[in-house]
């Protein structure tokens, strides 16, 4: 039997997290791949929107950028960026956001701006783009990122997107959600020890009782993720 890698499992779980939703604003990178997977496997009617203004984008091949002509062909609509941010996000018409992050803190703050201080950073990251606006203007945020201690500090180096709404964080080791103002582990992957999750989290992270387990990736899910990501663009 061929088993999914932790990364493939994370993508499948990102796809599963979109079940029950109507419209999702999707960031580029791994969220885009997971969202395409979710639409193809579970929610064919899901409306995926991109900050480039593409509404219910086409998917004849995986997009390398959110303005990729591959998303334009077959899209339901294309609006200006301002129309997207002002009417659809600002008008609170979009259920959820699906993004990645460089750092996420105990309180659910997200950093995609700098590592180190803002005035004198050790590493400058791309910055907000639409991330901070998305986080502010959707009901729930789904975040997908590798589970590493440097990415899960107690407090982030810079608050690009502040906490304040429901949030699900999907990593290669676990799923976390907000509870009483902080992120707690709600499920861990099969074969992952809770101590490994503790070791890769920068604060004494709580575990929800009873802890959920992650249903294994099915052969159909694995085939779909490998078909969509056949070039390994986002690996």
């Amino acid at each position: 039997m061929i088993t999914a890698s932790r990364r493939e499992e994370m993508l499948v779980l990102g796809a599963r997290a979109l079940q029950g939703r109507k419209s999702v604003l999707v960031g580029i990178g791994q969220p885009n791949l997971a969202a395409a997977l979710g639409k193809c496997l579970y929610v064919p009617d899901l409306i995926l929107l991109y900050e480039s203004g593409i509404i219910d984008g086409g998917s004849e091949r995986l997009a390398l950028s959110i303005g990729d002509p591959a998303l334009v062909k077959g899209a339901a609509g294309i609006c200006s960026m301002f129309e997207l941010f002002a009417y659809y996000l600002g008008g609170r018409r979009i259920d959820a956001g699906f993004v990645s992050a460089a750092q996420i803190g105990r309180a659910g703050d997200i950093n995609t701006t700098v590592i180190g201080s803002y005035a004198n950073p050790t590493l400058r990251l791309p910055g907000s783009g639409g991330a901070s606006d998305i986080a502010l203007l959707v009901d729930e945020l789904v975040v997908m990122m590798p589970h590493e201690k440097r990415r899960f500090p107690e407090t982030v180096d810079f608050v690009t997107s502040s906490a304040g709404r429901a949030m699900t964080v999907i990593t290669d080791l676990a799923t976390l959600a907000m509870s009483n103002g902080e992120l707690v582990v709600t499920a861990i992957r099969q074969g992952v020890d809770p101590d490994q999750v503790r070791a890769e989290t920068g604060w004494p992270v709580g575990f929800k009782e009873p802890l959920g387990s992650t249903p294994p990736v099915t052969a159909e899910e694995l085939a779909a993720v490998r078909r969509l990501d056949k070039d390994g663009l986002y690996s």
């Binding site: 390398l64 960026m81 703050d109 701006t113 005035a119 910055g127 907000s128 608050v159």
Partner: protein, 292 residues
């Protein structure tokens, strides 16, 4: 393009080269580099490879942006180095930067955005202020208007009067152009008036706002133009490697910008590569405007 840049770009200008991942006016950026314009404030939501090259060439005094990366490939290394060495900058979220253009273009004194907009940028960017809504008493973050001195857009076609038509991702094109004091449109094709007037809904910018039209096929390469050519992903990947080393950046600028005689020459030197990017034809259903 050479004439347009000479006539409409002045050292010290606030320049906006428009296009969000699609139809980025690369030919304009390269001509600005070739003419060694200096002290420009370069504004773009997503600086992309074009501003990485313009910053590397020494055109910029300041950068205004909301996302500075090479899409899908990590950092813009020339801009990262310049920022580390002290290049002035103003950083926003996308919504904030677009709202600045909309305020600038429509004559609003500021644009209000929901409380919390921009996260901690509010502590670092003095242009972000907080006001009280006089009706509800709630707090809003405001951004001031932005009016570029000159905006460059690249579109599929225009007529001789500069009525410019675009399809595919339109991104920030109208907002950047309509808020700018001067607009240069580079176009893949100049078409008869009847073509534009036969489908007026597709006009993204009316000609009376356009100061110059430049016929510039391949003017957006390596970014894509819907219906003309695909994104040159290899060029973006290659820049991600070249831009790590200042020596290689200099070689690139010498070979592909200073060393070419305008866009036509740039195209001629890599024609066989570019031909592989040409997309096939997929026409939309014509619409009926009716006949009186």
């Amino acid at each position: 393009m050479s004439e347009a840049v000479r006539q409409f770009v002045v050292d010290g200008d606030l320049v906006y080269v428009a296009g969000f991942s699609h139809a980025i006016a690369f030919a304009a950026g390269h001509e600005i580099i070739r003419q060694r314009k200096r002290d420009l404030t370069l504004c773009r939501a997503t600086p992309d490879v074009i501003y990485d090259q313009m910053v590397a060439a020494g055109c910029a005094r300041k950068l205004i942006f909301s996302w500075t990366g090479n899409p899908g490939l990590g950092n813009l290394h020339c801009i990262s180095r310049a920022l580390a060495e002290g290049l002035a900058f103003e950083e926003y979220s996308h919504y904030q930067l677009l709202a600045r253009l909309v305020a600038g273009g429509t004559g609003l004194p500021f644009y209000p955005l929901p409380e919390g907009s921009g996260g901690e940028l509010a502590h670092h960017n003095p242009n972000l202020k907080v006001i009280t809504d006089p009706y509800s008493g709630s707090s809003w973050v405001t951004v001031p208007p932005l009016r570029p001195d000159v905006a460059f857009i690249h579109v599929q076609r225009s007529d001789r009067a500069g009525n410019s038509q675009m399809w595919g991702v339109v991104g920030d094109v109208r907002d950047a152009a309509a808020s700018a004091r001067r607009v240069i449109a580079s176009v893949e094709a100049i078409v008869p008036d009847d073509v534009v007037r036969g489908d007026p809904n597709r006009t993204i910018l009316p000609g009376f706002l356009v100061d110059a039209v430049v016929l510039e096929p391949w003017g957006a390469h390596p970014s894509p133009v819907q219906g003309h050519y695909d994104r040159d992903n290899d060029a973006y990947r290659s820049w991600s490697v070249i831009s790590r080393e200042p020596n290689r950046v200099t070689e690139f600028l010498d070979e592909w910008i200073y060393g070419v005689n305008g866009r036509a020459d740039y195209v001629r030197r890599q024609l066989s590569r570019l031909k592989a990017l040409v997309v096939g034809t997929r026409l939309s259903e014509p619409v009926n405007y009716g006949k009186a």
